[in-house]
Subunit: 304 residues, 4 copies
């Protein structure tokens, strides 16, 4: 397995030259497009290749964490009463008089507007506490107590995040954010800026694959039904507008981030962490998807 | 004329019971739906009926003022290079990853998002100065030096104006607002809260009708080309989604506000100010449009 | 006037090299982009310059004729109960299960889908009779009994008009076409293929300008209210997505066609016919709009 | 298992009173909402309960068959080059001049417009042959040589199918249908009208579950990669706008039809056929989904 992983990575290295590194903030633009890493966690061992120890910001993969903790805090049904789970985005007309309220069924926890709404569902008496809880939860599910926010990325996100700010005020206008918008965005921006590596993502994937049970501890860290719920949402909308294509090529629940990471899992057996920062036009790591495609085909991993 | 005006008003009084007073902020909800007023300014005299002295907030009619002063400060072409003038709103997809930037041709100075952008085109070294200039300009073109902001309405608009905030951050995200968003919104909210009466609106309409020349002074207060430009924009999009219908029924350049006011004019001869706070679903005063329709038909005012 | 017209045409000749001749059917692509003509009809004489005698197909300008005859046959209110008059097009989702019916207020008589619906409102016991009535009406209002359908263009339109066919079946699906779709499309395609010249369009414009009264006969050919209704609709949506811009630059009711024609009028005084086949991206004749802009500015024609 | 199935069916019988039977054609409206059936095919036996023998029209479930045969005829990549696989429908603007062509990535084989396009990808020298091949293929994969078209339903669909006609002409206009539109629609309407029962759907599901291998014969009827491709598409978009919700509640690849059928499968082990004609607002059988949800939960079938 270890050998096979190294081989797959080498075969996909050429794809690191396709696509573009995200450049909407300077910190992301600094990423080295030649870096590529993979980490696979199974119940009979862990395997890795390339730059798996390289740290990068978690970005949109954190949406999975918002959804996990919000579901644990409130139950799945409560969360589904607050945000939809369909991939079919409806357009929003910015221009008419009528108070065209956003409808809950038009947002999705795997896109920014839905993730901001879900973030507020994480229970806390203040946004500071919310951030603290989310950070500690992330350390728990990755098994890495050292995870921290990249402060420079956080500040950049906060300074330039006007589209997220617009989306958050749309939510506020529709009563889908109850508290202070800027404070909540601070939590959102900070959590998007948590630095992780491939191992962290693989551990997180393994927890979902193992239906919420800690691999070593055997302890049920999140309910089995929650793990399945998350995997269902990841499969239908975890890869942005490329979720359908990803399902046909890879066939695994996964979530990507513009930092170049992908967290994937094979329910029942495997967690996978990927890093390669050059993205396709939909915001997904190109070499990352290629590695997953090869791995899935060779090891017959598809859930379909 | 005076008599005819009073008659028309009485005939339309029954329509004050149709539609609804705007209620998104408490101050607007307090409006008395039974009030109805009209004021007509011509070069051979002024005529009025009903509650023409009643003050109400100018609301969206102020968009006309933003456009007038921005055009004067920068020239028409510059303004048209920054915002479109088509009524055809394009939908905005709140949900995808891609940086779907707003395009200038998709916004219009007569709807909120465009008006916010135009507001910043008013030249000033600070937003305080911008507000000061706009207030003084409004006093000039209405000939009423006593016009003031209704502070309670302003505070309400500011506190609840999350949709406008969302639109402003969309503009910021697309580089269509350069400076501070909240400060600019303060100018916007304050100017929407200026208290006017029917006479003020009629004077403003008369200035446009007179192609920018002061009726008494004979002085060219705004360029003739600017007056025509404003009237063209008002005709194609001054009455929100009801602009086409209004053109077929009334046939005059006009702008409405959710405060219940309408400012209209017959190019060459007449300025009209209207007040009646109950609105149709498109945000236009119902009894107000009825009075304009009757007046236009009986006096053969249509520009078509 | 005659001299001024020739001068304006020469000044605008250079714009015939901008834009593109419509090429979706071979017959239109054959148009000579160097041709340019103008014809102005007033109550004190007629003036013309360039290729005003050149014949071309009327195309979308015929939408005005559908609307005129439908209004005469049924009354304005009946027509407005069947199609909207707003320029704000709403998007149609081709992809969902729900029977998202088209709403009347979302279509407009100046765009294809609305014009097809209006065409059926012309009273007739058969579509052959409908075509006959429309042809004769067109001959009446242009004062040209020799007008005929260009059969080659008609056949091309019919053979390639799949988008119009799609729109017509959408109307049928929403109950907005009652009779046979293909037969109605035959009327539509045939009427779009009527050959006219600048004089024909100017005469038609003059009838609208004269509020429906025949210039020579003094006979009220169409009701005054109908003429104004048509002009209101032309002003807010006669130039496709360029109607707002056209209002600010020219300020006259007008309708364009992809054949390169424009029919315009100055209410009260003037009908104008234009020909120049190279179009901008919105489907309007570039040199044609330039001539109208110059003419309007120099003769102070704007209605605003 | 047999007993458990009967119990689940009885527990869900009450849901047959929720929602509405499809009524856009008289033949569908005649369905008896009290009927409810289920059939489960596994490699160690077949189980069934209720009205599993009742015949109904396959409707949209046939989209799966179009996709299977088109993929077999042309290869998966060729099919994906012709239609997209994302669930995110893009709106289509029916109203503008510009030739807003449909893009392949905006259509999906599991919604009408995409299914019509995929239908033409089935290789044939005529549409009669296409229908013949599709019918025989359907008989093959269900193992039921007696399957036939319900002629009354076919005629009704053909007579009232104006929205599908509109969609087909949109495809034609964008070059996404090459041949005759009405002939192709005839194939489409006929195939939607094939009468099946729960057993037929379960056999079809079992073939997908078994990755294309015939259960008894052991023969590879469709390639394994094709079976997985189909299951991926079913999972992300087989249940219309309810696909995301279905994934979270049931977690199986499935396709529904407005006739009241659902074809589902558990990859590796099970094919399921469902019938209950009362539908939710998204067009899916209410009691059908309930039965699948219970079955999935009790037997731990979810793929996630």
């Amino acid at each position: 397995m270890q050998e096979r992983l190294e081989q797959i990575l080498e075969e996909c290295r050429k794809y690191t030259w396709e696509g573009e590194v995200a450049d909407y903030i300077p910190e992301l633009a600094k990423a080295n497009r030649e870096e590529i890493g993979i980490y696979v966690a199974t119940d009979h061992g862990e395997f890795f290749a390339g730059d798996w120890e390289k740290q990068f910001t978690i970005q949109s993969i954190v949406k999975t964490i918002f959804l996990m903790l919000a579901a644990q805090d409130n139950g799945i049904q409560y969360v589904k009463d607050h945000v939809g789970v369909e991939a079919t985005g409806k357009p929003f007309n910015a221009i008419d008089y009528a108070e065209h309220k956003l409808l809950r069924e038009h947002i999705n926890p795997m896109v920014n507007i839905g993730a901001i709404a879900v973030c507020e569902l994480v229970k806390a008496s203040s946004n500071d506490e919310r951030l603290e809880r989310l950070l500690n939860y992330t350390r728990d599910i990755t098994g890495n107590p050292k995870l921290e926010v990249d402060h420079a990325v956080y500040l950049s996100e906060k300074r330039t995040g006007h589209k997220n700010r617009a989306l958050a005020y749309l939510l506020k206008n529709s009563g889908m954010i109850v508290g202070d918008v800027e404070e909540l965005l601070d939590v959102y921006f900070a959590m998007c800026s948590v630095k992780v590596n491939c191992q962290d993502l693989a551990k997180m994937g393994m927890l979902l694959a193992n239906h919420g049970k800690g691999v070593k501890s055997g302890r049920q860290i999140i309910p089995k039904a929650d793990a399945r719920f998350i995997n269902a949402v990841l499969t239908t909308s975890g890869m942005y507008d490329g979720s359908g294509e990803f399902a046909t090529r890879v066939g695994l629940p996964a979530k990507s981030g513009v930092g170049g990471g992908i967290m994937a899992n094979k329910p029942g057996s495997m967690g996978i962490g990927i890093y390669s920062p050059a993205l396709d036009r939909k915001g997904n790591s190109i070499a990352g998807i290629k590695m997953l495609e090869k791995l899935s085909r060779e090891m017959d991993l598809s859930i379909f």
